[in-house]
């Protein structure tokens, strides 16, 4: 498993004010698998993703990325794992406007100590893989939304990343461009053995995933996909 989440619980606040964002969620993602997480707003989708990526600390449970339990690692070790193994894609791209596409993509590698020439080489390869190498020296402001999201995906897959976490990656894109992004994520998982988790409210986009899990009030209440267990899961959680 590239990602193995066990009994993940995240509570914000204490006592009567406590908000239970996640309550005992199990989720495993195999290499090459793309899993979509759906659910109404406030159901815990984004919290699940931030915990999976080591950006948030769970209240209880385990988060194993490539076999390493993020909840027991030191802060520095989590940061290093995040830089090397985990890629993020956000709705608003989060590109740095003062850097070119290639520089944006190379940044996480450089932060991790890769020499800039080597980092640039990796970055151009990643841009090539998402089909926009010709935009390497362009700045984000001179690109369309779809192109920017491709740059963000290139940044998320550059180097040897094994886990791709995407939070509403198509939210700011029109439907055709959004679909092209999904196709790209799908191909990355299929061809490069990357595990992907995609948070989306769009059923059409979720349908590109191997598995779709459904969260409600911090609990997994359903699953659709090749495992014909949707009903069993529903029973268990009730």
């Amino acid at each position: 498993m590239i990602l193995d989440i066990r009994q993940l619980t995240r509570t914000h606040g204490q006592g009567e004010q406590a908000v239970h964002a996640l309550r005992g969620v199990d989720l495993a993602v195999a290499p090459g698998e793309l899993v979509a997480v759906m659910g109404p707003s406030g159901s815990g989708k984004s919290t699940l993703l931030t915990c999976a990526g080591g950006l948030d600390q769970p209240t209880a449970g385990e988060v194993l990325v490539d076999g390493n339990d993020l909840t027991t690692l030191s802060r520095n070790a989590v940061a290093a794992l995040r830089r090397r193994r985990i890629g993020y894609v956000f709705q608003d791209f989060n590109l740095i406007p003062a850097l070119t596409a290639a520089e944006n993509v190379a940044l996480p590698l450089e932060l991790d100590g890769t020499r800039s020439r080597a980092a640039r080489k990796y970055a151009v390869t990643a841009l090539q893989e998402v089909g926009i190498e010709e935009l390497a020296d362009r700045f984000p402001d001179d690109m369309s939304g779809g192109q920017r999201q491709r740059v963000a995906i290139a940044r998320a897959i550059v180097g040897e990343r094994r886990l791709l976490l995407a939070d509403e990656p198509t939210g700011a894109l029109d439907s055709d461009t959004g679909e092209a992004v999904l196709r790209l994520l799908r191909d990355r998982c299929d061809q490069h053995g990357i595990g992907g988790v995609l948070v989306t409210h769009d059923a059409r986009h979720a349908a590109w995933a191997d598995r779709v899990v459904y969260l409600r009030d911090g609990v997994l209440v359903g699953q659709a996909g090749p495992l014909p267990d949707a009903d069993a899961l529903l029973q268990e959680s009730r």
């Binding site: 349908a207 659709a224 529903l234």
Partner: protein
């Protein structure tokens, strides 16, 4: 729609045999609507009776090739010009099921919604897989798949909407179910 108009459309460019029509119909609709050869010939016979097609020539084994008539072309043009009425579609079993689930005591409506959602999601995944595997040029087929994809998506959105409505109404007293008392029972009440 009817098979009738489908066959007229396929006959528009040149005359065809029944088995050809069947093959082309399935190719165009991605076999979402399988036809058996009997249906094709029954329909052709009816179209011939109504003067919309005529038998053009026969193969050695007696099978006829059909061609469209001018009346057939008019009928086809009219079909393409007329929008499909929503009422002509079959009644929606799911809407009726949910309405009944709400009306009948003892049914966990949100479980019904959730189960349906995952089932529809599974169909949507399957359709997306088929779309992904379809070849670049298969425009007719892609269009049919897209129609089914949008349909499944709409159903899921509608289910989300139902769920939100249920939540909003949770806790409000349910209207007392109407009773259909037998007369003598009513007497004991009064």
């Amino acid at each position: 729609m009817s098979i009738k108009h489908g066959l007229l459309a396929l006959l528009q460019d040149n005359p065809k045999y029944g088995y050809q029509l069947r093959g082309e119909f399935e190719a165009a609709t991605g076999a979402t609507w399988p036809l058996n050869i009997g249906q094709v010939y029954t329909t052709l016979t009816r179209l011939e009776r109504d003067g919309l097609v005529r038998a053009a020539s026969s193969e050695g084994d007696g099978r006829s090739m059909y061609e469209i008539t001018d009346a057939g072309r008019d009928e086809l043009a009219k079909w393409f010009q007329t929008p499909v009425a929503r009422e002509s579609r079959p009644r929606d079993e799911l809407a009726i099921k949910l309405a009944l689930a709400l009306a009948v005591p003892g049914v966990d409506v949100s479980a019904v919604v959730q189960r349906q959602r995952m089932s529809t999601m599974q169909s949507l995944q399957e359709l997306t897989r088929q779309k992904r595997n379809s070849a670049e040029g298969e425009i007719s087929w892609q269009l049919v798949i897209e129609s089914m994809i949008f349909g499944a998506e709409a159903e899921i959105r509608w289910l989300d909407h139902c769920e939100a409505m249920l939540l909003r109404h949770r806790g409000k007293p349910r209207p007392a179910p109407q009773r259909y008392d037998v007369p003598d029972e009513q007497e004991t009440h009064s």
